[in-house]
Every structure is written in C-alpha cells, then in structure tokens.
C-alpha cells in the first residue's frame, strides 16, 4: 500500500506509536478543547480512520514568525506525527521546489483535491491598488487568495496578520492590508491569531478537523472558543497579586522581582483572549508574563495601535491636549458672555441701581 493511502491509525502504527499513546494524545486534545471525555473513544476511532489531509499553506504579507512557531516548537511526539500526516502540498519556505515547479505543485494539488483541501494562510493581504504591494510569481496575493479559496474545504488564518491584518494593517496601513475573512466571505474560516500563534492551538484545530470533518466552535472573531474563551488575566498565575493590589512599578523593582502583577506596566491580559497562560510556549516551558513582561495583546485586532505596550490599560487614549485647552478657552468665552448677559438683565431689573 502506498504511503499516501494509509489511514492515520495505520501510519501511526507503522511509526511504532502505541494505541495507549494515541489515546493519551486524543484525551489531551479533547481536554484542551473542552470536548467531553465520553467523546474521546469516538474521536480516536474517527481520527484513526482519517486519511491524509491535503493542505496548501500560503505565505502572504508576513514575517515567517508564525511558521517558526509552528515548526520549531515540537518534540517528536504524536502531535508531530499527526502534523507530518498533513499532505502539505505547498509552503514556500519549507519546500525544495521554487519558481514554476512550486507553482505547478499548487496547481496540481488544487486540481486533484478541489473542494477538499485545507487552505492555511499566513500574513495579511494588501487591497490598495489591486493588491500590487504583495506579489508572488507575477500574481497579487489578493488574486491568489481568491483563486485558492474557491476550491478550499475550509480556511485557517494562522497568526494575527492573516486573522485581522496585524502589523501590515497598523496605522497608517499604507498597503490597505486586511485579514482573510475581510476578503473571503463564503467559506468556513477559522482565525488562530497570535504573534506568533500557539502551536497547540493548531494541533487542536487540525485534530478536530480530521476527527469531526469540521472546524471547531468559534467566537465572534472566528477564534476557536476552546482556546480563546478565557482572557489571559482570568488564567494568569499572577492574578492573585492583582486582587491583592500588589503591582510591579518598574521592570527592576521589588515587585517585579517578587513576580507581582504587571498591570501598571501596561499588561493587556484583561482584554486579551488566548491560551498562553495555560498552555505556554516551547512545550510548556514559559510564556511572556512568566518571563517578566506584560501581555501585549497580540491575539487581539489592532493591538499595535492601542497607544503603546507600556501604557496601563485603564489610561485613556488622549490624542492631543490641545483639544482640552481649546475647550477651556471656549468655556471662558461662554462664561464671560453669560455673565455679561446676566449683568444686563440684573441692571434692567434693578433699573441700574
């Protein structure tokens, strides 16, 4: 039997993965995605029967950080093997082919798997001037996305850029960059934001797609609820210090050394939905707040433009103080005018006495 024809169960057995390890993996994914424990055997069964899933991963206006996060964070585990089980037919940074050969690989995969392939997108898509600011092989990424989306079973936007436009869309957004779901509206789309996104979220999403044939339940921003349901603040191990009123006032004071809450230093944890606080990065080694820096809210739309990473969340966005000075001047003018009118009225009533 050809390697391509094997089911996932057969492939894992071929690679020496025991059923016990596979079930443990399924239980882990089910638990991270809040899938009931009773569903685990059915999920394992369905997953074992899954056939190789074709996927095309396109890199548009991006920095490759998302790909670094996804490919560098895994030890050789079941997750890794399942990722290997994707038939990744195109990813320009990972594949050996280039130029016409690479483009042919996309065309072939599209033709053979029309309506079945997963489209994974990394990076924002510029809209200004017909998308001319981001082009590969003579085709704008705007046209490329439209073409590829047509034959996709579902689209996964990997990272904040593909989800909401990210840094490409940050003010003044010279290229008119947007996320995938602002262009494609007739396909199931899942956003996995983060700068970079968490690899475990991709594992969960991919496993769920293989097992159930559909994308997981999402929130209003199309993010999988299982991973983006809570805020960083809700799950942060430093939350207790917030409640006690113990805060670090600078990055090298006693509070910082004691690991107190970073709210005063601009932590955006209370308004950021992500699973960093529970899953952490680098196989659970650490995450930004554990290493002493506040959350910058990288999985939220427009996080670059929220007036600085070090400004406390409760501080307003002032714009300019000139408006307030003008308001005070207007107040003085109105007050003086009111007083003149009142004096006139008083004089009229009292007859000037």
């Amino acid at each position: 039997m050809k390697e391509h024809d094997l089911t996932l169960g057969e492939e894992l057995r071929r690679q020496g993965i025991s059923r016990r390890s596979f079930l443990k993996f399924c239980a882990g994914v089910a638990s991270s995605m809040a899938i009931p424990a009773a569903m685990v055997p059915a999920m394992a069964e369905s997953l074992a029967q899954a056939r190789r899933q074709p996927a095309i991963m396109m890199a548009y206006q991006e920095c490759t950080g998302c790909l670094e996060s996804l490919t560098r964070s895994f030890a050789p585990t079941v997750e890794n093997l399942i990722f290997n089980f994707i038939s990744l037919d195109f990813q320009h940074a990972l594949q050996a082919a280039s130029g016409d050969q690479a483009v042919d690989a996309i065309k072939t995969s599209m033709k053979e798997n029309w309506g079945k392939y997963l489209l994974l997108v990394d990076g924002s898509i510029p809209l200004n001037d017909d998308g001319i600011y981001s082009v590969s092989h003579g085709q704008s990424h705007l046209d490329s996305l439209r073409e590829l989306a047509e034959g996709a079973a579902a689209i996964v936007s990997i990272g904040t850029c593909a989800s909401y436009g990210g840094i490409g869309a940050a003010s003044p957004n010279p290229t008119g960059a947007v996320g995938v779901d602002q262009i494609i509206t007739d396909k199931p789309i899942l956003n996995v934001p983060g700068c970079p996104p968490m690899p475990e979220v991709m594992t969960g999403v991919y496993t769920s797609f293989l097992a159930f044939g559909a994308l997981p339940e999402v929130d209003s921003l199309k993010r999988p609820k299982a991973f983006f349901g809570d805020t960083i603040h809700d799950r942060c191990y430093r939350r207790t210090f917030y409640d006690q009123g113990k805060f670090a006032d600078s990055f090298d004071d006693e509070g910082a050394r004691n690991g107190w809450c970073l709210y005063k230093l601009g932590c955006k944890g209370p308004i950021t939905h992500n699973a960093c606080a529970t899953l952490k990065f680098n196989e659970g080694v650490s995450w930004p707040i554990q290493s002493g820096h506040g959350c910058i809210g990288c999985s939220e739309p427009n996080f670059w433009d929220k007036e600085g990473f070090y400004k406390p969340l409760s501080a307003g966005q002032w714009g300019s103080a000139e408006g307030i000075a003008a308001a005070a001047a207007a107040g003085v003018a109105l007050g003086a005018a009111s007083a003149v009118m009142s004096r006139r009225n008083q004089n009229k009533i009292s007859g000037g006495k």
Partner: protein, 217 residues
C-alpha cells in the same frame, strides 16, 4: 473600532471636552457676576474667618435638626467618602489619573475597593428609596435629582459588574463602565453634580456674608 476602543478614545475625548467647557463656563459665568452689595455697614471687612468657619459649620446639621436629617447626612457622607476612596485609591483609577498628572500614588487592594464600592452602591440605593418613600422629598425632587443619582450610580454598578466578571465578556463590561463614567462627566456641569465645585464656594460665601453682618465670627 471596537466598543472599548471607542470608549477609551473618541468617547473619552468628547466627554472631557464637554466637561471642561461646561465647568469653566459655569465657574466663569458665576464668578463674573456682580457682588451683592452690603445693605448695612459691614462688621468685618474681609470676613474670611467667617467664610472658613462656614465651610465646617455647615458640614453637619444644626443640633436640633440632627434627629430629623442626621441619617441623611450619614448616607451622604458614606456616598461621598466611598466615591472618593474608589476613585482615588482603586489601582486602575489611579493609573488613569497618573497618565494625566504624571505621578502615581499608593492604592488599596482590589478586595477593599470592591467592598467600599458595594457599601457605596447600597448607600446610593438607600438614598433613592428614601427620596421615593418620603412624600416631602418626592415632592421637591425633579428630573435633575434622578438623573444625578443615575449617572452617579451607573459607574459603580458597571464597575462592580466588570470587576466581578458579570458581563458576557470583560472588554464589553470595561467599555460600558467607561461609557457610564463619560455620561457622568457630560452631565456633570449642567446638573446638581456641579455642587462638587459650588459647595465650597457657597459655604464660604454664606459664612463670610454672615460674618460681615455680624455673625459667624
């Protein structure tokens, strides 16, 4: 733009501009009015001692009136002190002001602020019930009284709901809390909340006027 971005940005800027215009307008408008003429020879020239005394004498009711209005004063003090503590010593609030004034100060633990806010909110509801139940209070209450109560109570209720995570999501709660505060700022100069500025002025003026007539000194 999300609701929170709107609340933290344009809504805040508009509210503060209306607040500043309104406050300065009213202060200048009143202070530029002619002073009341003395109808008899003033007993004291400046009468500032009487003015200062007036500030404190009127901070508590005249003894014979205590049984009748003492509770009202106590409820008033709870509301005002609670408002002051929550506003100045709540960490997120302090950080809001610190962003304007450029320095920070000591704050109270979140639990204490929550407890103070709960007591203050209860006192605000007691004040409203007393106003509605007492026929005299009800008779002399107008729209301004109820609007003032509403815009003062709303930030407490929305703030507590945000702290206790009672909204479908935190950001919406925070945005609604901020918007409720901006509503208070917008209403502030044009209603009875202006007493925050006038109470010192009016008590001083009354005290000094009485002193010039021969009392209070």
């Amino acid at each position: 733009m999300t609701l929170l971005d709107f609340a933290r940005g344009p809504a805040m800027q508009i509210a503060i501009i209306i607040f500043v215009v309104g406050i300065v307008w009213r202060l200048v408008g009143v202070w530029a009015l002619p002073k009341k003429k003395d109808l008899s020879e003033p007993r004291q020239k400046g009468a500032w001692v009487g003015g200062l005394k007036g500030l404190f004498v009127h901070a508590w009711p005249y003894k014979p009136f205590v049984p009748k209005v003492g509770a009202q004063y106590i409820i008033g003090y709870i509301i005002h002190l609670g408002l002051f503590i929550v506003l100045i010593f709540g960490t997120p609030h302090m950080l809001f002001f610190a962003d304007i004034v450029g320095f920070t100060w000591w704050t109270l633990p979140g639990g204490v602020i929550t407890a103070v806010a709960v007591v203050t909110t209860l006192a605000l509801f007691v004040a409203l019930i007393r106003r509605l139940v007492n026929p005299v209070h009800r008779l002399i209450s107008n729209f301004d009284d109820y609007a003032t109560w509403f815009v003062t109570t709303a930030p407490f209720v929305t703030g507590l709901m945000t702290t206790m995570n009672m909204w479908p999501d935190y950001e919406t709660g925070l945005a609604i809390h901020l918007l409720s505060v901006w509503l208070l700022l917008i209403y502030f100069p044009f209603g009875k909340l202006m007493h925050s500025f006038w109470f010192v002025v009016s008590r001083y003026t009354t005290g000094s006027r009485f002193a010039r007539r021969g009392g209070m000194a």
